[in-house]
Symmetry: D2
Subunit: 160 residues, 4 copies
Amino acid sequence: MRVLIVYYSRTGNTKQMAEIIARGIKEEGIGVEMREVEKVKARDLLDYEGLIFGTPTYYGSCAYQIKRLLDESVSFHSQLDGKVGGAFTSSANVGGGNETAILSILEAMLIHGMIVQGDPQGDHYGPVAIDSLDARARDNCERFAKRFVHLLRRVYQQAR
Amino acid sequence: MRVLIVYYSRTGNTKQMAEIIARGIKEEGIGVEMREVEKVKARDLLDYEGLIFGTPTYYGSCAYQIKRLLDESVSFHSQLDGKVGGAFTSSANVGGGNETAILSILEAMLIHGMIVQGDPQGDHYGPVAIDSLDARARDNCERFAKRFVHLLRRVYQQAR
Amino acid sequence: MRVLIVYYSRTGNTKQMAEIIARGIKEEGIGVEMREVEKVKARDLLDYEGLIFGTPTYYGSCAYQIKRLLDESVSFHSQLDGKVGGAFTSSANVGGGNETAILSILEAMLIHGMIVQGDPQGDHYGPVAIDSLDARARDNCERFAKRFVHLLRRVYQQAR
Amino acid sequence: MRVLIVYYSRTGNTKQMAEIIARGIKEEGIGVEMREVEKVKARDLLDYEGLIFGTPTYYGSCAYQIKRLLDESVSFHSQLDGKVGGAFTSSANVGGGNETAILSILEAMLIHGMIVQGDPQGDHYGPVAIDSLDARARDNCERFAKRFVHLLRRVYQQAR
């Protein structure tokens, strides 16, 4: 069982979030890869049980580089059905479009037939960093990694 | 393992959708109850592994009666974490707010920590009836029931 | 030309935001009323050129009391067409559903045919208070008031 | 006063919608240009009072080509403040992500500080074509053009 974290990062914030999430997943004993979106082909998405996308918040949705990969994934439509998904974002401001950015990815995952879960305590739709990667954001990334693995294990019926 | 379908229906369309979904779930061998939202207390939600909410599309989100139940469920916040959720809607028109209505419920479910899944072939976010309950909408309700049970079985690790 | 601010507030945060916005609108020379949602009838909405709704963030959308008023406003559907609208929210957390809460109101306003505007500098969809009403949130409320009046004057072609 | 319609179209449906809207705007006596997104530079957006974006529905949001232009427009952030915006989409299915696709554009426009309006009778968030460009979709495009010009005239205080 393997997880792919696809990210686009210009300033490094989104990449740092990806690193914390990758470490958390690894610590739970699940194989994980981190790849810049430019180095991911749509076909690669088929090889993983879990897919996590990270993006800066650009105009209330994901960076176009992420969207391009999602658009290209139409060649494999229905083949991601039943996989587990999640998303995270780094944003300049509170109220700056971070929730809609995460939801733009989760909605694409739902359209692929993927399975997503929220969090009743942490950032509800997925981890959000505001401005820099402060302790709050780091905690949310760690928490997200643990919950993602838990969901993956439930869905793929793998005992811990 | 049991599923509760909570619905609000003024004209009967949403109720009919609930009936088709309930029948589909039952046919898959899972216990299911259908209840008008006015007869559901927030505490009742704890008793089911699967929760499905049905609503007419009113101004782009769920009817306030559904929202009231969601607001009241805050007394049990974190106790729905990990349950399986889904939503459906009946709407007057194409482009009439049906997708945002379903998403208003799915977003609340994510905030509760619930698990949701989309559909790559049928109505992506959840079944939508436009105007009346035509064959297209019926098929989507039946399809949704089957997929919901499949997800429930995966998450609760129950062999068929 | 008059503005109505409709709000629901349990802890007082949303009410305080309403007060700052009301003061800002008044300072710009426009008549403004602030009313608890329980004291507003759908018919009242017809009497104002500008409508602003304030809500706590409850499960990613507006409080059901606000939604009930929106649902009841269907009796006057098409009669709010061309009015100017806006929304604000108080929320417990970053990433806690505040953006989707504001959008749940803006979407209802669009369905009524109303005119809304975002903000390229302040909170983009509408003012958001996280936890308490800090300086950031106050500034956003003041800024929102000024911009709302500016839009109202443009739409209703009233010279300053 | 001039309007730019930016569109991406692979099968020709979105382009046809753009043509109907362009014709409708011209008939109302307003200058209008139609341009494929690949031929538009972010700087060009500054030259128009009204901006309309058309996109196929791809995974619940706009095509990445449209998103790329929006991302690039950050170089002119705050300079679109107060302009009038709108969006339309062609989609394969009911419930197929068409509303969220339009909203992905409207949200970006709000973040730019732009002014948008819904429609209480036609497709509420913007014109939607399902599958092909049927009479329903054509009517919605024509209706949208008229309303867009009306809003433009109100906002820019131009008598008919």
